[in-house]
């Protein structure tokens, strides 16, 4: 039979590596999928493109937009991708040197401080509120500052215009090495088992082409396994790691020479869930948070968002 033609939306980030690996190593072909990767500059348009039928699969964090599109019956979350688990470096909480010197040495002191986020309703926003909840002060006591872009937040943090921020480890470590930023905590202390990103598809695919979706997830997981083995668990040896970095460099940091790109790719590697299993407990928590912040309708249930029939959930 002729291969199914599908399009996968991706960003040029290491977190999308599973797609690239599955594509480069022919895992999609093995499953009879003729994949075309379509690149985007932000996660949001991928969701819209899936809703409009231009793209079949995408990887993105749970966001208000995703939930609302799901509510409209356009998309379904079918699996998990990035995940935080104990024992592995996860997202870190940072403070500007200025704030640190004036007493912001642990997340408990965040009350009344400003916290950088990209957008209202983004994962950074969620993290900030979870910290407030756990430390026992009102969410509104953390002053979130939407700054749109990671680069902008970094600038603002370094120059002390915001007091704090949370970010993936390789960026956090890089920043903390400098003189202007200090590390003050870990996100995993506040959100254990954080399901950072998920893989999703259109509702039509999830309900009518279940078999094709399964094949996609199979190939995708295989790519994830290779990636984890090469760069996260480092069980595959240096040569495999090198190969993996070279493969990813075709898609990420392309405009930089390999020597410069390699460390960034290596340090940026985070675990991708095996078999795309999904921490639905955390997804529920995220949904509840969106609902408590009035960003999505209170009547939405987890079933509206997630189709749990494809992968293991817990």
């Amino acid at each position: 039979a002729a291969a199914d033609k599908i399009a996968v939306g991706a960003l040029r980030f290491t977190s999308h590596a599973a797609t690239f690996v599955a594509y480069e190593r022919g895992y999609f072909k093995d499953e009879g999928l003729d994949v075309e990767i379509k690149f985007f500059q932000a996660a949001q348009p991928i969701a819209v493109a899936i809703a409009s039928g231009d793209v079949d699969f995408g990887v993105a964090p749970i966001s208000g937009g995703l939930i609302n599109l799901a509510e409209k019956g356009a998309i379904k979350v079918i699996g998990g991708v990035l995940h935080e688990e104990p024992g592995i470096d996860g997202q870190m909480i940072l403070a500007s040197k200025k704030a640190y010197d004036s007493g912001l040495t642990s997340p408990a002191a965040l009350k009344g401080k400003s916290f950088g986020i990209t957008q209202t309703g983004s994962s950074f926003h969620y993290v900030a509120h979870k910290i407030a909840d756990k430390e026992g002060f009102a969410r509104s006591d953390i002053k979130v500052k939407p700054l749109q872009k990671v680069g902008v937040i970094i600038g603002a943090l370094k120059s002390g215009q915001i007091d704090s921020w949370s970010i993936v480890p390789h960026i956090a470590k890089g920043l903390a090495k400098g003189p202007t930023v200090e590390m003050i905590g870990k996100v995993s202390d506040y959100i254990p088992d954080y399901q950072v990103t998920t893989v999703f598809t259109s509702t039509a695919n999830a309900s009518d082409k279940k078999e094709m979706v399964k094949r996609f997830l199979k190939a995708f997981s295989k790519g994830a396994d290779d990636f984890n083995a090469a760069l996260v668990d480092k069980t595959a040896g240096d040569a495999a790691a090198e190969d993996m970095i070279k493969l990813i460099h075709k898609y990420v940091y392309v405009s930089r020479p390999y020597e410069k790109a390699a460390p960034s790719i290596r340090n940026g590697a985070m675990r991708i869930n095996k078999n795309a299993k999904l921490n639905i407990t955390n997804v529920k928590d995220q949904l509840a948070w969106f609902q408590s912040e009035n960003m999505v309708s209170k009547s939405i249930t987890i079933d509206t968002i997630v189709d749990p029939t494809f992968v293991e959930t817990y």
């Binding site: 937009g65 609302n68 409209k72 939407p146 700054l147 749109q148 872009k149 120059s159 960003m295």
Partner: protein, 265 residues
């Protein structure tokens, strides 16, 4: 003498002038809204991204009810008015300099073209460093965005002023300043005002970019949030507010034109 046919001289003149008609505009507007509502209802317009106007209107009512409208509006209007006023004032000033002095033109006009083409969004990190994440960077974004089109419109207008009128001014020994104030600026005014129409709209558009940075309130912030939540009814409500702002600015500029250009036919 040939035949006896008698005809009135055919009227060939007239035309090429305008009577404003509010009815026509209302008709167009109402028809558009009806078409849209109808299209949404029969599914001809996908509800996924473009909700029916009635839904958007509901979102708008909610915005009023919640009392947020005024907060958003106040914050945005303040930024817009500050940024636009200084942007256009500076723009007219620099445009005049470029229009008047060969050396300034040679040095600055390529610079204007070069910098104008830089997306404000790419400059946001710089703006934050320079102007902070408070009101400064927001006003600066709008100021920057309205400055350049005003410069171009102004020096285009100056270039188009009738040189023989300038010679007349010189012959009466008018100071250079007087010539600029009394001959060049009024002569370039139609072009400058046309530039204002453009810069006003650009200023409004840039509210969204400006309010990307640490804005709690503001129509742009409201739209950004609606966009990231894919709350299309709110998005359209927010966008409609911007449209209304655009309409109001255009209306004001129209009045200003009527007043200052009444010497034209």
């Amino acid at each position: 003498m040939a035949d006896n046919e008698t005809n009135p001289v055919p009227f060939r003149g007239g035309g090429f002038s305008h009577k404003p008609s509010f009815t026509v505009w209302m008709m167009v507007f109402v028809m558009l809204i009806l078409f849209w509502e109808f299209g949404s209802n029969i599914g001809f317009i996908s509800n996924l991204v473009l909700p029916a106007p009635s839904e958007a209107f509901n979102a708008f009512l909610q915005l009023i009810d919640s009392g947020m409208l005024w907060k958003h509006l106040r914050a945005s209007l303040q930024r817009l008015i500050l940024g636009w006023t200084f942007g256009t004032l500076l723009g007219v000033g620099v445009g005049l300099l470029i229009g008047l002095f060969s050396n300034v033109r040679a040095g600055l006009s390529p610079l204007v073209s070069a910098i104008f083409a830089i997306p404000k969004i790419a400059l946001l990190p710089l703006f934050i460093i320079w102007f902070g994440i408070g009101e400064g960077s927001k006003v600066a974004t709008i100021l920057f965005g309205t400055f350049f089109p005003t410069v171009i419109a102004t020096y285009g207008g100056v270039d188009n002023v009738d040189r023989s009128l300038i010679r007349m001014g010189q012959s009466f020994g008018l100071s250079r300043l007087s010539i600029v104030r009394k001959i060049i600026i009024p002569g370039a005014l139609p072009a400058i005002l046309s530039g204002f129409r453009i810069s006003a709209s650009i200023g409004i558009i840039l509210l969204v970019a400006a309010e990307m940075i640490g804005a709690e309130f503001g129509v742009g912030a409201y739209i950004l949030l609606a966009g990231s939540l894919m709350a299309t009814d709110q998005l359209i409500a927010g966008v409609s507010i911007l449209s209304l702002m655009g309409l109001s600015m255009a209306w004001v500029i129209g009045k200003v034109e009527n007043y200052f250009l009444k010497w034209r036919v």
